[in-house]
């Protein structure tokens, strides 16, 4: 085995107590997840915004925030909730997630999620049914590749349905609207995107929670 002489106190530094503190840890994770959610919302929203003719319009920055101001915070909050909920449910159910718990896998998952969004925005499909079916298949494939847990699937479906319902309500009340709705007031691929997003955020949340577990275990070990 690779062994190395390392020095524990200098290695851990002063953060050990912060990380092991449960609430601060929760807070840190929540903040990180929120940031990731906001970032993804901004970027993916750009994908959805149809391409303008512009070359370098002077108001590039404003086009990043072309959606309403409340969208990124909502997405951030939702992703923070989901990211914290997943490890929590794992713990409650007592079946910890075992599959590929590495950052490289998480990154792959995020990349596939962006890819699904890309496909929904950029690829021209023959009809909406095909688009939605393809995206659904991709989302389930995402779940199978990176999650494979029943709890994850169930939570994903539930949250996706809830989010779709919420979007329906928002559109119904005229907060915003889709250019070409094909499923009541919204796009039919929206649930798939939501599902994939939930899986992705859950993956990130679990990976973050893994750190906490490790640190706590080590601390116990140390004590």
């Amino acid at each position: 085995a690779t062994a190395d002489v390392q020095f524990k106190p200098s290695r851990r530094g002063p953060y050990i107590s912060v990380i092991t503190n449960r609430t601060t840890n929760l807070l840190i994770r929540g903040t990180m997840l929120f940031g990731v959610g906001v970032f993804l919302a901004l970027v993916l929203n750009l994908l959805q915004v149809q391409r303008n003719v512009t070359l370098f319009p002077p108001d590039v920055i404003s086009s990043i925030f072309s959606s309403a101001w409340w969208v990124p915070p909502c997405c951030g909050t939702a992703s923070a909730l989901i990211g914290l909920l997943y490890p929590c449910i794992d713990r409650r159910l007592g079946e910890p997630h075992k599959l590929k718990r590495e950052w490289s896998s998480v990154m792959r998952c995020v990349a596939v999620f962006v890819g699904i969004n890309h496909a929904s925005a950029k690829v021209d499909f023959a009809n909406n049914v095909q688009l939605s079916l393809t995206l659904a298949a991709l989302s389930v494939g995402l779940w199978w590749t990176f999650d494979r847990s029943r709890s994850g699937f169930g939570l994903g479906v539930a949250i996706a349905l809830l989010a779709t319902l919420a979007t329906q309500l928002l559109v119904y009340n005229g907060v915003f609207q889709y250019t070409s709705p094909d499923f009541l007031y919204i796009r039919s691929w929206l649930p798939c995107i939501f599902f994939a997003g939930v899986i992705t955020m859950g993956n990130i949340g679990r990976q973050l929670a893994l750190y906490e577990c490790k640190v706590v275990q080590e601390k116990i070990h140390q004590d």
Binding site: A3, V106, A111
Partner: protein
């Protein structure tokens, strides 16, 4: 056996064979894969390079017709984009206007005010031009409103009408606004962006020529104003355009104009990627890189982590390229935006297989042959690799049947990519892996030996300590395990590597240099302080020939008038050597050179005016059209030949058009009355420059200090970070963690300890009083006490708390002459055999001997050699020696000892000839091997003591010169003497060799298993060979390891002897001072340090010098090598850590005064140094202080002068009269 099983076996066997193949012929296979990659990528050459530059196509203007939409095969040279009508036809009217003849009564503003004013009449002319029934309104490109974000340009750019752009737009094409504008320049420049701009600015847009060519400037020396009127036409009417051209030419003839008018240029613009699309793309790439990073981080336990990571990335990337190439070859041109699907392809293909392969291969048994390891690793993962691959292929095939073209294309690429990736993994990566593993094995060979030595020692055999059971193995507090040999390189500190890379290549300095040059260039270019215009003003002001058109920075002397004493412009060379006549320089005194001849501006037309738009940014047209939400991406525009217009205005006209403020403006810019202001500006500029310079110098200095740890020239100046270690025992940076371990203090010596020797199990120490004590290195128990000149042996237990030496004896103690008869027989002349009395004489005696032993090791003691000997002689003569030796009641002479001394009639030690001088001789060197202590005395006597029994086993007095250094290896003792001779002794045990018990594990670094001499054996020590003149001068250092004896001497040479036959192999010359430190270990690493502060590394096999570095000011006092670095300490109390292979100093640690030489290496990454009453542990890789252990409560004043690292990772340090046994802190944990 099911089909699945059989399949699995077959696959595994195939992979096994493949692995063997790859590992056997690495080079041909890598060549083959490279060739196949290149072959598959060859079709990529045909693909157009990605780029957004416009493409041009020129046709004749005469027979122009709008190209049809259908591609026509006959026109071969026609590009495929030249179809359909263009977005717009661009007609430009290039106006060059000048006021001529130039009058001295004119002010600089006149240069452009009236020429610009003429644009309105021209515009009027163009707008109202009618040919038959066609006017411009019907033909021009009608634009709607500007993009919402461009509200601020609303007043300037045309809206809801013809796209007609001219400088008149600044004033809404209204003459009255222009006339009432007090400051034209301000109006023009108020829309200019600050800083560097690559895109087209508003000034460029409206003027249609590059900003510096417009001539709209107060300091223009050409006094010609150039601008264009740009008209965008939606349809092309040749006759209308021709009539407009004729009309304008007729109105404003250009005399010497020979512009070609028969060519139309069609410019096609590629699709540009906007920020809105760039951000998701960049995000996907960031995710991709994060993925690659996290993946390759998992590659571990290989020789070159970076190399393998690179190979993995190369595998994936080249498989993608191969896939694109193959698809192109079979006629599938990629229509997708390659850049955007690329990350997804990488993610789909993935690096997982590569990682799995690596992991599987490195987890095979290390002792196997390389190709077997590769084959085994491959075959064990073959099934999962195949399974994954099949799954991915199936998924992609499903995707292919979605029948969405984009997805189908993606899937096709992915399939080909997957297959080529598999191919590359199997051939390229596997082979690279095999090469890597082989390199690792090679590196392994060199290191295996010391690595094994680092393993925890097996239980000791019993006979070592016959009288007491071996203590229960101490619950080892340390878990230091050396890393397995091959992985050490991976643990090199990255930070240091980066820093040294930077330092080696002087990268930081070069970057800073280039950056400074660029910065200065930008400064000059963007001209933030107005320096350029100021210079121009100065020049034009000083020069009577203001329009001479000389660049100001050239400062050609003849242009300047004679010396200008008031000029503060030091940038310009002194205009002294002017050949101009005196009267011209006289004119300089006036506010404006009145009498100087003025040349009228000449308007000339050249070929560069033909296509004036070429000099603009290539984004000029796209940005113009993009303001109206018209994209030029994938479309083209046709540019019609330019219409030249020449305007000559007379001065009267210019004066009439003046705005009242222009005249106020004018003198300010050119008159001398503003000297004060300009001077102030100059001072400001100078101050700014000075400040910037100071800041830059400081920044450079800081960067240099941060990034360049190599101390060029000086070694006293420390790296900033390291300097924190100045006082390793004090609070600094972070407080050193409180030591949880209390060192074991071994008390017993009455005076300072001079010699220390250990063989891992036992520890022998000798103090100034000449008393030798033997301690158990594990428990710290004192086993034996050998007093200075007696054969007394004390109790072996529990003496480390109470002093059983002379302290416990009162001076009134009666001498006891009841010695054993044997003893008397042996030493009949000396009744004072057990000199244990508190007599001061031994102290005085050994005080003379004190200096040489302590300094012989550090190398400058030999100057005292003669003095010491003289002192001894004097002392010999002293008759006051009166030893009374009370026999301690606890130690009646045991029969054992009697036997050991009395029995062997053959043994030479029977003749222990005790001369008075001998008793006074002090121990100068001490060695301990397998419970035999070899002590070299100043009298030249070599004594062998039993460490456990405390008895003298034999004694050799062949030499008379003091033994300065001893080496005890196997059964040979090498003694270096003060007179430069080298004696080789053989320790013989008259007992069959087969019965020799070998005890102990192989030593840590230099100790082979040494035989255990049991107390029953008769030991004789015979001089086998004496090299009389080994060195010209006294031998200062003696080290033995790996069958070699290395001596270093004051005569600047190092000699290497073979231990078996005492044959001198090499004389190594290279130092320019006496040798003061030598290190040699089992792996034949030889390092030497001298009084010149140099450290040489030698190849023991060839005798050649490997590297030579100067490290210290003053002597090098000790040297230790690890596998990767050399650690040296010098008289300057500096501990330097050098990279062993490159000879680069990694860092240095400033020690406290007097503690410089005490250092030891516990493992490859743990260094221990002594300080003021403490020892400090350092991480060798990073140079971080790990912990400081204080040796005593109130022992701050004491230095740790010697430090010995034992096998069991304990360290012993000499601490005044006490020894301290410190176990390596338990907090040092093992990291997997």
């Amino acid at each position: 056996m099911t089909v699945r099983e059989r399949l699995r076996q077959n696959i595994s066997a195939a992979f096994y064979r493949h692995g063997l193949l790859c590992a056997s012929y690495p080079v041909p296979i890598i060549l083959f894969t490279s060739v196949s990659i290149l072959t598959c990528c060859y079709p990529l050459l045909k693909l157009p390079l990605p780029g957004t530059g416009p493409v041009e196509f020129t046709t004749g203007a005469k027979d122009y017709s709008v190209p049809s939409h259908e591609p026509q095969g006959d026109l071969g040279e026609r590009p495929d984009w030249y179809q359909g009508p263009p977005v717009a036809y661009i007609q430009q009217v290039l106006v060059k206007a000048a006021v001529s003849p130039w009058d001295s009564s004119l002010v600089p503003v006149d240069v452009f005010r009236s020429p610009l004013g003429r644009v309105f009449s021209l515009l009027e002319e163009i707008r109202n031009h009618v040919y038959t029934d066609r006017s411009l309104e019907t033909l021009c490109l009608q634009v709607t409103e500007l993009l919402p974000g461009l509200r601020r340009m609303q007043s300037i750019l045309p809206e809801h009408g013809c796209l007609l752009v001219s400088p008149g737009n600044y004033w809404q094409n209204r003459r009255d606004l222009f006339d009432s504008d007090p400051d034209i320049l301000k109006t023009v420049h108020q829309h200019e962006p600050k800083g560097i701009h690559t895109s087209a600015t508003l000034k460029d847009l409206l003027f249609g020529v590059p900003g510096k060519n417009t001539g709209v400037s107060l300091y223009s020396r050409k006094r010609v104003v150039t601008y264009t009127i740009t008209i965008a036409l939606s349809s092309y009417d040749a006759r209308f355009v021709a009539s407009l051209r004729a009309r304008l030419k007729q109105l404003h003839p250009s005399v010497n104009c020979t512009l070609r008018e028969d060519h139309m240029v069609h410019v096609h613009f590629k699709e540009e990627i906007g920020i809105a699309e760039l951000i998701p793309l960049v995000t996907t790439y960031i995710i991709l890189f994060a993925y690659i990073y996290f993946s390759t981080r998992k590659i571990d336990m290989v020789k070159s982590k970076w190399g393998l990571a690179l190979a993995a990335v190369v595998t994936v990337l080249s498989s993608l390229l191969m896939s694109v190439g193959l698809c192109t070859l079979f006629g599938l041109t990629p229509t997708l935006n390659g850049g955007s699907i690329f990350p997804y392809l990488v993610v789909v293909i993935g690096l997982e297989n590569v990682l799995v392969l690596t992991k599987s291969v490195v987890s095979t048994p290390v002792d196997l042959e390389v190709k077997l390891r590769i084959a085994q690793g491959l075959s064990s993962e073959s099934w999962s690799i195949m399974k994954n691959m099949a799954t991915e292929l199936v998924i992609i095939l499903i995707g292919y049947f979605t029948l969405v073209p984009a997805i189908q294309e993606f899937c096709l690429f992915a399939v080909v990519g997957l297959v080529s990736d598999f191919f590359l993994q199997m051939f390229f990566f596997t082979t690279v892996l095999s090469i890597d593993i082989r390199r690792m094995e090679l590196a392994d060979l060199n290191r295996r030996l010391p690595a094994e030595a680092g393993m925890p020692p097996p239980p000791k055999p019993g006979p070592l300590r016959p009288r007491e059971a071996p203590p229960p193995p101490r619950p080892s507090p340390h878990t230091i395990t050396l890393q397995a040999p091959a992985f050490r390189n991976l643990r090199l500190p990255k930070r240091l590597r980066v820093v040294y890379f930077l330092a080696r290549t002087r990268l930081a300095q070069r970057i800073i240099m280039v950056g400074t040059v660029i910065w200065i260039g930008i400064l000059v270019y963007t001209d933030p302080a107005g320096l350029r215009t100021y210079l121009a003003a100065q020049v034009s002001e000083q020069s009577p020939l203001g329009e001479a058109g000389l660049p100001p920075h050239l400062g050609v002397a003849p242009v300047f008038p004679g010396g200008d004493p008031t000029s503060t412009l030091s940038v310009l060379p002194a205009p002294e050597p002017t050949p101009l006549p005196e009267n011209q320089s006289q004119g300089h005194g006036a506010s404006r050179p009145g009498g100087a001849p003025l040349t009228s501006p000449q308007i000339s037309w050249g070929s560069e005016d033909e296509e004036v738009w070429r000099r603009l940014s290539f984004r000029y047209w796209p940005s113009l059209f993009s303001y109206y939400n018209i994209t030029l991406a994938k479309r083209y525009i046709s540019i019609l030949p330019v219409i030249p217009v020449t305007l000559h205005l007379n001065p009267q006209e210019a004066i009439e058009m003046r705005h009242p403020q222009d005249t106020q403006h004018a003198p300010r810019s050119s008159a001398k009355t503003t000297d004060l202001q300009t001077d102030l500006t100059l001072y400001k500029v100078a101050a700014l420059g000075l400040f910037a310079g100071v800041v830059l110098v400081l920044l450079l200095f800081c960067l240099y200090r941060v990034l360049c740890p190599r101390n060029y020239g000086q070694n006293g100046v420390q790296h900033g970070r390291r300097r924190r270690g100045d006082l390793p025992c004090d609070e600094y940076g972070y407080s050193p963690p409180v030591s949880e371990i209390s060192p074991l203090l071994l008390r017993g010596h009455s005076m300072d300890i001079e010699c220390l020797a250990s063989d891992g199990m036992l520890l022998a120490s000798c103090c100034l009083a000449g008393q030798i004590r033997v301690w158990d290195a594990q428990t710290g128990d004192c086993l034996t006490v050998i007093p200075n000149n007696g054969l007394r042996r004390s109790s072996s237990s529990g003496c480390w708390e109470h002093r059983d030496g002379w302290d416990s004896l009162t001076p009134t103690c009666e001498p006891d002459y009841n010695e054993p008869p044997l003893r008397r027989r042996v030493t009949p002349s000396r009744p004072t055999l057990f000199g244990d009395q508190p007599d001061l004489t031994p102290l005085i005696d050994t005080n003379f001997g004190e200096l040489p032993p302590s300094h012989t090791t550090v190398g400058f003691g030999f100057d005292f050699g003669g003095l010491v000997e003289k002192a001894y002689k004097e002392h010999e003569a002293s008759p006051t020696m009166h030893f009374t030796a009370p026999t301690p009641p606890v130690t009646p002479a045991p029969p054992q000892r009697r036997r050991s001394l009395g029995d062997p009639p053959v043994a030479p030690p029977e003749r222990i000839n005790v001369s008075p001088g001998e008793w006074d001789s002090s121990v100068w060197s001490l060695e301990l091997r397998g419970n035999l202590i070899a002590a070299g005395r100043s009298s030249g006597k070599l004594e062998l003591w039993d460490a456990v029994e405390g008895t003298l086993r034999c004694c050799n007095e062949d030499g008379s010169s003091g033994i300065t250094a001893l080496a005890f290896l196997n059964n040979r003792i090498v003694a270096a003497r003060l007179n430069g001779s080298l004696d080789f002794f053989t320790v013989d045990i008259n007992k069959p060799l087969g019965l020799l018990q070998y005890r102990g594990p192989p030593g840590r670094a230099s100790l082979p298993s040494s035989p255990c001499y049991s107390s029953e054996d008769v030991i004789s020590c015979q001089l086998t060979r004496s090299v009389q003149c080994a060195h010209q001068k006294p031998i200062t250092v003696l080290r033995a390891a790996a069958g070699r004896v290395v001596t270093g001497s004051q005569d600047h040479t190092v000699r290497v002897y073979r231990l078996e036959d005492s044959c001198c192999l090499f004389t190594l010359q290279g130092h320019s001072g006496g040798i003061t430190a030598i290190y040699i270990d089992q792996t034949m690493v030889l390092a030497s340090g001298g009084q010149d502060g140099a450290i040489c590394l030698w190849d023991v096999l060839t005798g050649s010098r490997v590297s030579h570095v100067y490290g210290h000011r003053g002597d090098v006092t000790s040297l230790v090598c690890t596998n990767s670095c050399v650690i040296s300490s010098g008289l300057d109390d500096l501990i330097c850590i050098w990279d062993r292979s490159t000879g680069i100093k990694l860092y240095s640690i400033q020690q406290e005064v007097g503690c410089g030489s005490s250092l030891g290496v516990i493992s490859d990454s743990l260094l221990v140094t002594g300080g003021h009453g403490c020892v400090s542990f350092w991480d060798l890789n990073y140079g971080d202080l790990l912990q400081t252990v204080y040796l005593g409560q109130n022992s701050e004043g004491q230095h740790v002068r010697q430090l010995l690292v034992l096998d069991n990772a304990a360290i012993v340090c000499d601490f005044g009269s006490e020894l301290s046994l410190v176990y390596v802190p338990s907090v040092l944990e093992k990291l997997d």
